[in-house]
Amino acid sequence: MSHREITVTVNGAVRTATVEPRRTLADFLRQDLGLTATHLGCEHGVCGACTVLLDGDTVRSCLALAVHADGHEVTTVEGIAEPGEMHPVQSALWESGAFQCGFCTPGFVMTIYGLEQDARAGRPCPRSRTEIREELSGNICRCSGYQAIVDGAEAALTAATATATTTTEGAR
């Protein structure tokens, strides 16, 4: 199986690597780049722990090949805030106590981060707890800590929506 050279912008930095075509995007991030905060739970697209952003859209990195990211941009949970700082989504989850063992947390953070980016940009995003639960239904927490996770998501999205409203009003 011939290897391929790929160039991927990961968290703003251009990274080049030689990978087997069967290398998943998740394994490329974890093993080739050492970005181990992207977690692998089920490895067949059910649990959502490996969620990252590909060109700004949430994707399951276990269901994409590393070669699919060649020439594209990937954002992982390591890249949403400066080292030692928390992104507002992370702060909101922290305030809500939205984790038990923490294994699923990176995937939840990235899913909510994707929604939060929509909210900030004034694009449609879930508002009610029912809608939030539906949007988060692709992420599984085996400690079943959903109540606090939904609390944190709701707080983060409410704050982001207010930011967008303020920005829009400021532009008028």
């Binding site: 069967r22 998943t24 490895e43 269901l63 699919h68 899913t111 692709g138």
Partner: protein
């Protein structure tokens, strides 16, 4: 688990993809990958170990959505999320948008494609049932050129279609809803985004307040999505309402013999398919009345 080694091909055109497939000793040794949201799990679990993977992600010009009079054509590589958010799709074939909202989760639909879901032909999936319900036509390209296959001839077994091993699905053509048309997709799943235990796509066309035509496809109850032809025949010329919908529900259930598996018993699926037919017909009729 990780995928077993395979020879990787990344053609940049459909012609090149077909040439690669037909040039192999046995095209059956190859799997064609579009969005990969059905194939990647099989590769990761090594339930599928193809010697060759022909990846269509670098093929250009296969993601377009275009309307030509009474036909809406969606390129096979169009991401599900793109089609779901398309005003053109919503205006022409709203059933597609409603069903896409039930396909996996947003992170799946950002990668998954219209063509991939239909070519994979999972009998529990939403898009094959929608294609069957609407009489969509699949456009396939092979060594002999292009051909179209009606949905009624396309799904021929479990995860099996009329596509030859050296053919690529390039587009899906849906008939555009005219006046008096309404449709609905409803399903029962344990968790939003999971494969449904049963699902129903229904499409009605009213003339006055009589059902001129009804089409019903059921997912999750057989080796392929199934048309409820008996129920459809009973609805033709009927006045829409509880009596007609209950008869259609009974006719649908009577014709089905679903298997029992870890998710649900055959008896439950048989019953719930009827319930979903009644619900789908009610919603589809309401929408048809608002679309005159």
């Amino acid at each position: 688990m990780k995928p077993a080694p395979f020879e990787y091909w990344a053609p940049t055109s459909v012609d090149e993809a077909v040439k690669i497939l037909s040039g192999l000793d046995d095209p059956g040794d190859a799997k064609v990958m579009a969005g990969g949201q059905s194939l990647m799990p099989l590769l990761n679990l090594r339930l599928s170990q193809p010697l060759h993977v022909v990846d269509l992600n670098a093929v250009g010009g296969m993601s377009d959505i275009s309307r030509d009079g009474s036909t809406l054509t969606i390129g096979a590589l169009c991401r599900q999320r793109t089609a779901e958010r398309s005003a053109d799709v919503a205006a022409a074939v709203p059933l597609v948008v409603e069903a896409l909202g039930l396909v996996g989760h947003p992170a799946i639909r950002n990668r998954g494609t219209i063509g991939g879901s239909i070519a994979h032909a999972d009998p529990a999936a939403e898009m094959p049932a929608v294609a069957l319900c609407l009489d969509a036509r699949m456009v396939a390209q092979g060594p002999g050129g292009e051909r179209t296959v009606a949905a009624s001839d396309f799904f021929d077994g479990f995860l099996s279609t009329a596509l030859s091993e050296d053919e690529v699905l390039t587009a899906v053509r849906f008939p555009v809803d005219g006046p008096g048309c309404g449709a609905a997709f409803v399903e029962v799943a344990r968790r939003h985004g999971d494969f449904a235990m049963a699902g129903v796509a229904a499409h009605v066309r009213l003339e006055g307040d009589v059902i001129a035509e009804a089409r019903i496809a059921v997912s999750g109850v057989g080796l392929t999505p199934v048309r409820a032809t008996g129920a459809e025949a009973g609805l033709r010329g009927a006045a829409p309402g509880d009596d007609a919908f209950a008869a259609a529900a009974a006719a649908t259930s009577a014709a089905l013999h679903p298997a029992t598996d870890v998710h649900a018993s055959g008896a439950y699926r048989k019953h719930v398919a009827g319930v979903l037919v009644r619900r789908a017909l009610g919603t589809a009729t309401d929408r048809a009345r608002g679309n005159r």
